[in-house]
Amino acid sequence: MAKFAKLGLLTSVLLGSAMPTVAAERIQVTGEIVDTWCSITGIMFAYGTAHHQCAVWCAAGGIPVSIKSADGTFYMVLKIEDDATSVANPTILKVQTHNVTVDGELHKRDGVNYLFVSKVADDKGIVNMTHDDYGVVPFGN
């Protein structure tokens, strides 16, 4: 039951507005670039340096990354800057796990927040130093 409750909470976080939205919205988002799967499921600790290695593998393998903003909203990244050739853009590897501020277009489609990043306005690098507390997740300490 607790698992379902958690999923419900995560659902509300991911979904954002459920209202039909067609028009794009220009937004600026600040947050950590996260591994969508691990962070949403809570299957393992999935933030900061502890999870960086795993997150890079996921991004390289084609899993769309998300930006998790300070209010907990997830924005799935479908494009980043000029490279529009791939939804799972390898460019993201350069900024995986970084705390970034991005400008982009928000498209809400069938319940998911999709973000087309036009510019990484600020990149503070990896600031979430979690490996001391969590080790390397999930591949062991």
Partner: protein
């Protein structure tokens, strides 16, 4: 290999999770408001079907296209995704006739029409599987913004050393009756949700 496999499974799982979370479907774009995503994904193609026929995107005008990219040697994503696609179309029922499911290979070197034809028998009878030469596949993958990257499997005892897999995007694309983009369905979305989304887009067009 285990790591690669793990990430393959995770990729499947994340898609499924996200798809599963999309329970509050929001409806298709209204006709009155231009869809800014309409031309972000997709484009014209001329490819070869599993029956050896030349197939163009324009052949499907008047029907929605449900487009899935993958390859027949795929160990995890594709069999699962195509099973969901098949079951969802069955669940849609008669309205599903308005939808043309398409599988486009990301591995044209191995996925020849005979190989695709054999694979196709495991899935929906109306599923059209498409291949082409490398340039054609590269072009359509680029048009749909599909991640596609070949990697060699680690050499093991008894292996030839040249076995490979292909990382690939796992999103399904719903294209409208005019051939332009409508929405994404993350791979692994539960059958009921896929059917729900498809029904809505069929009804709205």
């Amino acid at each position: 290999m285990m790591l690669r496999r793990l990430h393959g499974l995770r990729r499947w799982a994340v898609s499924g999770l996200i798809g599963g979370l999309c329970t509050l479907a929001t409806g298709a774009a209204t006709a009155a408001e231009p869809d800014p995503l309409a031309h972000r994904f997709g484009g014209p193609f001329t490819l070869t079907s599993h029956t050896g026929e030349t197939v163009r995107d324009q052949d499907f005008r008047g029907r929605l296209m449900l487009v899935y990219f993958g390859y027949t040697h795929c160990p995890d994503l594709c069999p699962t995704g195509l099973s969901v696609l098949t079951d969802a179309l069955e669940a849609v029922g008669a309205a599903g006739d308005a939808i043309q499911p398409l599988f486009i290979t990301v591995d044209p070197a191995r996925d020849t029409p005979p190989v695709l034809a054999k694979y196709q028998k495991s899935f929906h009878p109306r599923l059209v599987m498409l291949t082409g030469d490398e340039a054609q596949i590269a072009a359509i993958a680029r048009a749909y913004k599909v991640h596609r990257r070949k990697y060699l499997w680690p050499t093991t005892a008894g292996s030839t050393g040249d076995e490979y897999g292909v990382d690939h995007g796992s999103l399904m694309y719903v294209m409208g009756r005019d051939g332009t983009f409508r929405t994404l369905i993350p791979h692994g979305t539960p059958v009921e949700k896929v059917a729900e989304i498809l029904k809505r887009y069929v009804a709205n067009e």
